[in-house]
């Protein structure tokens, strides 16, 4: 049997997967096992598949994904904490033919940026909001988020979230689904291949809705934060399935 060399394998006809060319070559700064990288990929793949990379303007938040602009090879701005929907509104109103999206975490979208989120949704801005909910402030080191589950420990709720004094986890997705301005509202997750495929479809749909001028699409992705939750990636995904998805039910809440 002839010896098989690496060069014999690396051929276009053998290619089964490649990273989208809309990723820059910058290594992702996310913790191994975190869902952010997957969601970045899905968004960029969707943009590539739709052939709209020259027509897309993104808005990155403050949080773990503050550096999203370094990884996404599209024109993109970085917003002050919580204000991404306002930036996106500003951009979309002067460039209605462009595809505009925000990429935000739960602290950014559901705490400091609640007003901007609600009002962009209520105005029915023709943009896409991608909302990564991992129930914690990741970048600042695991503090309690508006989405932290009851009883869940964090560095600012070390004995578990006491809803009597710390309030209840905020279901932003249910909230915005009630607003007449939103068109497509769904909650997804990306910790299994099947769920990744479903999430991708929703993300594609969010961009397609913009093309058809349908109004605001709001996609929540329930994700893990193994570092913040102080678990291994595998354990964190298990915990996510057993706990997060109980409170944050997956599915399409609204599709008009």
């Amino acid at each position: 049997m002839a010896e098989i060399k690496l060069e014999d394998i690396i051929k276009p006809e053998n290619l089964v997967f490649q990273k989208t060319k809309l990723f820059t070559d910058k290594p992702l700064s996310y913790c191994p096992g975190c869902g952010h990288g997957v969601v970045h990929r899905l968004i960029l793949e969707a943009i590539e598949e739709l052939g709209i990379e020259s027509e897309t303007i993104g808005v990155a938040p403050v949080g773990c994904s503050v550096l999203a602009y370094e990884f996404m090879n599209i024109d993109i701005a970085q917003a002050p904490h919580g204000r991404a929907p306002a930036l996106a509104t500003g951009i979309k109103r002067v460039y209605p033919e462009k595809f505009v999206f925000t990429y935000q975490g739960d602290g950014d979208l559901a705490a400091i940026g609640t007003a901007e989120t609600i009002h962009a949704c209520n105005r029915g801005e023709n943009i896409s909001i991608f909302f990564i909910n991992n129930g914690i402030y990741g970048m600042t080191g695991g503090q309690m988020a508006p989405t932290t589950l009851p009883g869940m420990a964090s560095s600012t709720s070390p004995y578990g979230r006491d809803v009597a004094s710390m309030g209840h986890p905020l279901k932003m997705t249910e909230l915005v689904a009630n607003l007449p301005g939103t068109r497509f509202v769904a909650r997804h997750a990306v910790h299994t291949p099947a769920l990744v495929r479903k999430a991708k479809k929703a993300i594609l749909k969010a961009f397609e809705n913009q093309k058809e001028n349908k109004g605001l699409s709001f996609i929540e992705i329930v994700s893990n934060c193994n570092s913040g939750w102080k678990m291994t990636p595998v354990k964190s995904n298990q915990w996510l399935t057993e706990n997060m998805l109980e409170y944050y039910k997956l599915g399409t809440l609204k599709d008009e």
Binding site: E53, Q78, L87, Y95
Partner: protein, 361 residues
């Protein structure tokens, strides 16, 4: 062909936004500047020029809509009054750090806190020293008439785009609310998307043009040495602005022994005070900074070695006087005469203050 109208300052500047070919106004109501958005909404600028006018949910949202849209190379503006401007400071700092051009109007009212709604000049520090965080500057233009409210729109955008910097038009309730005649010039066309791409594709978010790197607008750089380099770059730009963009008005300074220094509404009061004092034989002139930053430091230095004293007349407890003192370097007498909280000096009391604080003081 010009068109002569009698307008409020707030209306004139709103008309100025439309005629300057501004792409979008994002704002939130607050007295004494609500006429700006009211006028714009009534004028249907989307029909006149395609200009966008949107009422935001807060000043925070408004300035961040401005920030986002300004990232795209379009001409974007907002307006507010003191408490609302305070809310916007964080984003002013972002705009400075990420170097996008934008124009903001502050129709100043009395403070601190909710204060009142009468004209004041107590936001000078906030405007010229940076109300937000970090080492940054913004160009500050101080109109003192309705005509200047209108004219400074084009000036502000020229400077904003020349330096990719925020320009603050610092007005006050008196100039915003009073009517004077104003000569309107012809409508400037808004730039097309292609023209914007041709001019600003090196930095603006226009959608990644095939063949170029992606454009990023950010004020973040986690590498402190990179961030220091960025700060050097910003400071160099600010220095260049200080060298080249000072604008001022001189009134009767040729033979002046004393100088009123005032901007905006208080400069108008001082002009009248000057006429009264001159009738009494007091040789007083008026130096009116039109750019508050860059401050007319050279002119003040030059006068400092010639005159017997400066009276800084401000509708504040004394803010611009600090810049005057820095420029005068102790060479001549400098005193402050202020009214606070929305009270405006009478010309007669300005003359009396000149006599008591400078001539006899």
């Amino acid at each position: 062909m010009g068109e002569l109208r009698l307008m409020k300052g707030n209306e004139a500047i709103a008309e100025g936004f439309i005629r300057a070919g501004v792409d979008a106004y994002y704002g939130y109501p607050i007295t004494p500047q609500s006429e700006v958005m009211e006028y714009l909404m009534a004028e249907k600028p989307e029909e006149r020029t395609g200009m966008v006018v949107l009422q935001a949910e807060s000043e925070l949202a408004a300035i961040n809509m401005v920030y986002g849209a300004a990232c795209t190379g379009k001409k974007i503006v907002t307006s507010s009054s003191s408490p609302g401007i305070s809310l916007m400071q964080e984003s002013f700092s972002y705009i400075a750090g990420s170097e996008v051009p934008a124009v903001v109007l502050n129709v100043v009212r009395g403070g601190p806190g909710l204060g009142d709604i009468q004209p004041a000049q107590s936001d000078y520090f906030q405007s010229t020293k940076g109300g937000g965080h970090g080492d940054y500057r913004q160009i500050v233009l101080a109109p003192s008439s309705v005509q200047e409210m209108y004219d400074f729109v084009n000036l502000a955008f020229d400077l904003a785009f020349k330096y990719r910097i925020m320009v603050l038009i610092l007005s006050d309730g008196a100039i915003g609310q009073m009517m004077e005649k104003v000569m309107l010039d012809e409508q400037k066309p808004r730039l097309t998307n292609q023209e914007i791409k041709d001019r600003f594709d090196s930095w603006a978010l226009t959608g990644r043009t095939p063949g170029r790197e992606h454009n990023i607008i950010t004020s973040l750089d986690l590498d402190q040495e990179n961030l220091e380099r960025h700060n050097f770059h910003l400071q160099k730009k600010y220095k260049e602005i200080e060298e080249n963009e000072v604008i001022l008005e001189e009134v009767s300074l040729e033979d002046a022994e004393y100088v009123f220094m005032a901007y905006g509404t208080s400069a108008r009061i001082c002009h009248k005070a000057l006429q009264i004092a001159r009738k009494e034989g007091i040789k007083v002139g008026l130096l009116r900074p039109i750019t508050l930053w860059p401050f007319p430091e050279k002119k003040v230095k030059e006068l400092a070695s010639k005159v017997k004293g400066f009276l800084s007349v401000e509708m504040s407890a004394g803010q611009m006087i600090e810049d005057i003192r820095l420029a005068v370097e102790g060479k001549t007498k400098v005193a402050h005469f202020g009214r606070y909280g929305g009270v405006i000096h009478s010309p007669e009391e300005v003359v009396a203050a000149l006599k008591s604080k400078i001539i006899g003081g």
